[in-house]
Point group: C2
Chain length 333, copies 2
């Protein structure tokens, strides 16, 4: 039996985070002992101390899967987001920005304590971002926040690996996978970061072996971490045998995808100046998934991903600023 | 008796506001009935409704005098700010950003209700900003928040006309003027907006007549509103007779200053693209005042103003992003 027509293109579950972004020098990153280019979880006290050490900042809504949805919605997809904010000003900011982007967001705020998640991002002159995440309310997303009927009504359920780490959201995501698959929908998953793979690689490998993941997003480091294989092409070959569609991003070296045996590579889209790489992978996923739900070829899906990633790294913040639909219409048609 | 050496270059009293900025179309501005290019005060309900009508936004600390100090501090001046935030997340954001800019800020937060001020700014494709300000906690700055010894220790006391409207800060600013003048310091004042002049023009004219204002900043509309004279040069001549230094900005037509009988004009500094004019006047004042406290010529003060204004209109947000000190060193030496 084929599933009923989808009401939504993509529903995502992810961290509900506001990014706090400031330029920083290489010396700042070294002096503060930050893991350059990576994502580190921090507690309340570390968040306080690190914020004090940060220069004047700007606040822009973020969160990996939420960024992906912002891109998808800007391209014209119908989307919904599930994620946990607190009942505070940053929670209002997050909820406003995601709804203002045209995305359904119905998860109720949770109370004031802990506060809405924020990510302190130090952006070095090379455009590289170093992220320090205070998860706050985000890690308490309960399984009861899921609306299984809504999940069943979306072509694709998109899950953020970052959110696999805390226990309650992990349970929620497992239930969401069941709901989506039970309704004959596809599940897309992004591995997010090496630390998540270090802690939950067994879970991810099991989901893959059981055929629960239809589309898997990874960067080349995450590919190596998950497969334990250093060689890029060997890693791809091993993993592609287990997921219907595998997409591996390689920063300035573009991306490679394998879908049902077909291999396609894409170059990175040229950018006048890389300002801030925050959200590059998230927007790549947005472009790719948009192509996927619109039935585009694998090569077109990759090209859409590359165009969206290029837009987001050419300015501060992980949400698109340009009119992505117009950009894509101009470049791909 | 000449005053003792100043510990601070500039101390300012102003609104403590976080800007909430989003791109908007001309149609949005018309449809929402906004006063394009102006500043409108809004209440809690209007703030709520207008925020709902706004696209995805970003939050960047603002406030007219606070923006000026951010520019001054970036240029290398020693500064302090007095302004009222609430004990909430946006208050933390404001306090962080001003302190991270190297500015002393000791005014205690006021409690949770009303919330920290915010300004909903719609930025049209022409770079023009349309501001809608919810004053919240900002209008409750009490005279008791003033540290008169600190005011007496600054070369210049800088006051924001916007803050003349609410009663408590007006009283505080009158006391601050006395403290500064009693210590032999200079008082600089910016007229801020036509609506403030409409409501408090008599106060401003009285302060000027009494010789309480040493440096007056206005744009050409404010000049006309204050003097009642439409002709630019006639208005300048009338007002310049009453203030030691008068600085009038004219957007893309540059600026004109008169100081102790000397007249100097400056062209606007070329900008590749005007992105967002928020903060143009504030940063012009920053450059000018920096030149002033460093004993530069009137022409140099104007040039510094023009350079700083050009930097801030070339990106989103009213706080400088480039290294202003380096920029000025390169262009003026």
């Amino acid at each position: 039996m084929s599933p009923s027509p989808a009401r939504l293109d993509v529903i995502a579950i992810g961290n509900a985070i506001v990014d706090v972004m400031a330029p920083a020098s290489e010396e700042d990153v070294t002096r503060l002992g930050l893991a350059k280019g990576g994502m580190t979880l921090i507690d309340t006290e570390q968040a306080h101390n690190l914020y004090q050490a940060m220069g004047p900042a700007r606040e822009i809504s973020g969160g990996s899967a939420a960024n992906t949805l912002a891109g998808l919605a800007a391209l014209g997809a119908k989307c919904a987001f599930i994620g946990q904010v607190a009942d505070d000003q940053l929670g209002e900011v997050f909820a406003h920005d995601i709804r203002a982007g045209g995305i359904d967001f119905a998860t109720p705020a949770r109370g004031e304590d802990p506060a809405t998640a924020r990510c302190l991002i130090f952006v070095t002159p090379d455009g590289q971002r170093t992220m320090n995440t205070y998860l706050g309310a985000s890690q308490y997303l309960p399984a009861s926040a899921l609306d299984e009927a809504t999940i069943a009504s979306a072509s694709v359920l998109y899950l953020e690996g970052y959110l696999w780490d805390p226990e309650e959201p992990r349970r929620a995501m497992r239930r969401a996978i069941e709901a989506a698959r039970g309704a004959g929908r596809q599940v897309a998953f992004t591995l997010s970061d090496g630390f998540v793979i270090a802690r939950h690689g067994d879970d991810f490998r099991a989901l893959i072996e059981q055929g629960q993941i239809d589309i898997l997003f990874a960067n080349e480091h995450e590919l190596a971490a998950l497969t334990g294989i250093e060689d890029f092409h060997e890693g791809i070959a091993q993993l592609a045998a287990k997921v219907p569609t595998l997409v591996v991003t390689r920063s300035e070296n573009g991306a490679h995808a394998v879908s049902h045996g077909e291999h396609v590579s894409v170059s990175a889209e040229p950018v006048a100046q890389v300002i801030d790489t925050t959200g590059a992978g998230d927007l790549f996923a947005a472009g790719f998934l948009f192509g996927h739900v619109r039935g585009r070829s694998l090569a077109e899906c990759l090209r859409l991903g590359a165009i969206c990633a290029a837009e987001v790294i050419s300015h501060y913040g992980a949400r698109p600023e340009a009119d992505l639909a117009a950009l894509v219409a101009e470049k791909v048609g």
